[in-house]
């Protein structure tokens, strides 16, 4: 039930211009949201989506940009996020930002002075938190410490945090980027209910189906300008992508057939990983083989153990079991061992375990690959810079310059940067954990192309993604993981999202029994 199209505007951002040093992130954007609608904000990586919502949330404080902002027709100027919050604006940032040292409940209600007067009532807090989580379909004990959660779980905590403040306008910056189908469904149910209760929402995503499913109107940004404003029914993939990039949509998943009987690159049997604290086992007796030129997909639900598996193979998570690379038995204790065995990993949490915020873009790309531009341990700056630039061009990393701070790249561009780092050493085995997290549709197909090309050149890839559709579309062979075990496997074309979900449900049913 779309909000009636003549509903008054709640949020109006008029002729917004935002510059960062030399770079212009927003070049005169007019952005209007009607009361009670869910408004999609679309655009390529670096188009300016996050910047726009940051401006609406006082993250970029009034004065640091040009233009006017109206809430309910009244002009506002937020000097801080605190003011925005008081102004009834809720915000779920794109990057994971939680208080690791506090419990989940404390995180959800952080900064809310309302509760139980000035005294904190732990019980009340925790009860209310668990209610929220049940709605979000995440049954975390409210007293769990956030430090113990997976990135995806942390993201849900952030969403709960925003909801707990009961905002009139809720802005979600790629809330689904690290969620898998089931969680997304739940989130949508919740958002629809909020909408029914009159909450207005701005929803940023790179997943077009979500837009179709959820949103009433959409604004498409392109290089800091509004490229299109679309109404429900007007948006189909073609139009949107055209508006976003001026390109036409290339086939999303390029065709790929693995070479028959190519040599086995990676062979794992009986791999187990001790659980974190309470988990008796995070991974249990994993067997797996990866052939040269093969794309192996791993599907699974949030917290099912996919990242742990990749981590174990890469040596960042202690494991038991046997790993053979190209037939040779290898013991991988540290990432270094893995790298020496030509294994590379793209991690799922850029901020925590991907980027070096103290180094500029170029050096972030080359770190760990320095042996390529050094002789006798002495660096060759020219060669290094050249290689970095090449990577930036190849992967279209949009950055003001190679010396800009990575912190100032847009989410998707950070992702591409990390991909570039991983590829620089031309690994034989490539482990990709959420490779397209926060990457726009255009670039997405580029990355898919890249993955397939790598496979063509004989690289073996394992792809973990929370988007079932992506795993199924990409993988020559798809393994389904639940509770740290493989519960199903199928070749390209033989599987479907339903099959995955069914086998997972089945596995859990039998485990419960």
């Amino acid at each position: 039930m779309a909000a009636e199209t003549d509903a008054p505007f709640v949020v109006e951002a008029l002729s917004i211009v935002k510059r960062f040093g030399g770079a212009t992130a927003l070049a005169g954007v007019d952005f209007r949201v009607r009361r009670g609608e869910i408004h999609a904000l679309l655009g390529q990586n670096g188009a300016g989506k996050s910047t726009l919502v940051k401006i609406l949330n006082g993250v970029h404080r009034a004065g640091s940009f040009e233009g006017r902002i109206l809430l309910d027709g009244r002009p506002v100027s937020f000097g801080s996020t605190a003011q925005a919050r008081l102004g009834g604006v809720g915000y779920v940032p794109q990057e994971i930002e939680v208080l690791e040292q506090l419990s989940v409940a404390e995180n959800v209600f952080a900064g809310q002075t309302g509760l139980g007067g000035r005294l904190v009532r732990q019980r009340v807090l925790e009860r209310q938190a668990s209610v929220l989580f049940r709605e979000l379909g995440l049954d975390i004990a409210p007293s769990t410490l956030v430090a113990a959660l997976t990135p995806a779980q942390r993201h849900i905590v952030m969403i709960a945090r925003a909801l707990a403040a009961k905002p009139a306008v809720l802005m979600l910056d790629e809330p689904t980027a690290s969620l898998s189908g089931a969680e997304v469904d739940r989130l949508f149910i919740l958002l629809r209910r909020l909408k029914a209760q009159g909450t207005t929402m701005i929803f940023i995503t790179h997943r077009l189906p979500e837009v179709m499913a959820l949103c009433d109107r959409a604004t498409v940004l392109r290089d800091g300008r509004v490229a299109a404003e679309l109404k429900r029914g007007e948006f189909d993939a073609g139009t949107v992508i055209a508006a976003m990039s001026g390109q036409r949509l290339s086939r999303l998943y390029p065709a790929h057939t693995p070479p028959a009987q190519s040599p086995v690159l990676l062979e794992i049997d009986g791999l187990s990983v001790a659980g974190r604290g309470h988990e008796q086992r995070a991974l249990e007796g994993i067997d797996l083989t990866l052939r040269a030129g093969e794309i192996l997909g791993i599907a699974g639900l949030l917290g099912s153990g996919r990242s742990e598996l990749l981590g174990a193979i890469y040596g960042s998570v202690p494991y038991s079991g046997r790993i053979r690379v190209e037939g040779r038995a290898v013991t991988i204790r540290r990432p270094k061992d893995a790298r020496d065995a030509a294994i590379a990993l793209l991690t799922e949490d850029r901020k925590r375990s991907g980027l070096l915020f103290n180094l500029p873009v170029a050096k972030n790309i080359t770190i760990g690959n320095l042996m390529l531009f050094s002789s006798g341990g002495v660096l060759n700056p020219g060669a290094e810079r050249a290689a970095a630039l090449r990577t930036m061009r190849d992967l279209r990393v949009k950055a003001p310059s190679p010396n800009a701070a990575v912190a100032h790249l847009s989410g998707g561009n950070q992702q591409k940067l990390l991909l570039g780092r991983v590829l620089m050493r031309q690994p034989k085995i490539l482990l990709l954990d959420e490779p397209t997290k926060g990457v726009d549709v255009g670039t997405r197909s580029e990355i898919y192309r890249l993955i397939v090309d790598l496979a063509e050149t004989g690289v073996g890839l394992i792809v973990v993604s929370s988007e079932l559709e992506e795993v199924i579309g990409l993988a020559d062979r798809c393994l389904v993981m639940a509770d740290g075990r493989f519960v199903d496997a199928f070749e390209r074309g033989a599987g479907s999202e339903e099959r995955v979900l069914r086998s997972i449900a089945a596995a859990q049913a039998e485990r419960a029994a």
Partner: protein, 352 residues
């Protein structure tokens, strides 16, 4: 349905039980209390006089001085900052109020108030510079340490301010409870108040957020700047109070009051499990840490350890206490909560 159970592992009863365990052992004090008990018993075994009423009194008296500052330091650390200037602020405020009550012949209460205000004022300055100008607390407060030392010389010209009005010594000599002085009374009251504040009030909760991750704290609408500045002012005022209690105890405004406290106080509370990087630690922990260090120092004297070896022992025990604490965490809090507790966690980027 499906996912509910899928993630259900995380929510199952045993888990939240475990969590409670975690939270119990995650609170910094358990380890250091253990260390304290061990140390006390050790000294007592070697020299029963160690637990003589008098020695205990003497220890508690000194602890009350440093402890008053430790209260402020703990709160400040929870807010993600720290203050190296406490020692010289204590000294400066002591001699200043001494001058006020002698040279300027102000009534003692007024002079004392003056001292406290100076302390709070310095704290305010530290806070403003750190928060607004984004100068690292290390530099600002170290600079203030020097400035304070200099001002002590300027105010006193190097001579102790002496004699002081009799009422001052009277306060210093008074023994309101169990033969312990007013400094101790003040210390206990302040400590309890501070503990409740940190654990039970929204204020305290927001402080942990502020120190834990300022970005997030701001995001959820906490005015981190105000909190930090407030904490700086508080520790300034507390340092002043401690300094003046020492002055009363010596019934003289000695220029060396507070010298060397800057590191001692931080060391104590960190030994007590308060994180140098903000957002973690408890009042109880911090204060037990201070107590532990003091107990060790006077214990070594009581059992008559050779002077040369005393300092060595202090250094070793200090490290051991923290080590013990970290092992405890490793042991009781596997993987998950590891980050949360360990002050060892090198999660600095907490500079301003």
């Amino acid at each position: 349905m499906g996912t509910l159970e899928a993630s259900g592992r995380i929510g199952a009863p045993p888990v939240s039980a475990r969590d409670r365990l975690i939270r119990l052992f995650a609170v910094g004090e358990v380890g250091v209390i253990g260390a304290l008990v061990v140390v006390v018993l050790f000294f007592y075994a070697l020299e029963p006089a160690f637990l003589s009423e008098r020695n205990i009194r003497a220890i508690l008296t000194v602890v009350s001085f440093v402890g008053i500052i430790a209260i402020g330091q703990t709160i400040l650390l929870v807010n993600g900052e720290f203050d190296l200037s406490v020692g010289s602020v204590a000294g400066l405020c002591a001699v200043s109020s001494a001058k006020l009550m002698t040279v300027f012949a102000l009534p003692v209460p007024v002079a004392v108030l003056g001292g406290v205000l100076i302390g709070a004022g310095i704290g305010l300055m530290n806070g403003l510079v750190v928060v607004r100008l984004k100068i690292p607390a290390f530099i600002q407060t170290l600079g203030m340490l020097f400035i304070g030392q200099g001002l002590i010389q300027v105010v006193t010209n190097g001579y102790p301010v002496y004699p002081l009005p009799p009422s001052v010594s009277a306060v210093g000599f008074a023994r309101p409870i169990f033969g312990l002085g007013w400094s101790f009374v003040f210390f206990i009251v302040a400590a309890i108040a501070a503990d409740l504040m940190l654990r039970r009030t929204v204020l305290g909760r927001n402080m942990y957020a502020t120190g834990g991750n300022p970005e997030v704290a701001k995001l959820v609408g906490i005015d981190t700047d105000r909190y930090k500045i407030g904490a700086f002012m508080l520790i300034g005022a507390l340092a002043a109070t401690a300094g003046m209690f020492v002055m009363a105890d010596l019934s003289s405004g000695t220029t060396s009051i507070g010298s060397g406290w800057e590191l001692a106080v931080i060391a104590g509370v960190v030994v007590g499990g308060v994180s140098l990087f903000g957002g973690a630690g408890t009042m109880a922990g911090g204060l037990v840490g201070i107590l532990l260090l003091q107990v060790v120092q006077s214990g070594l004297v009581v059992i008559g350890v050779n002077a040369n070896w005393q300092q060595i022992a202090v250094g070793i025990i200090m490290v051991l206490a923290v080590g013990l604490d970290i092992l405890r965490r490793r042991f009781f809090i596997a993987g998950g909560a590891r980050e949360d507790a360990a002050p060892a966690d090198p999660s600095p980027l907490r500079s301003e």
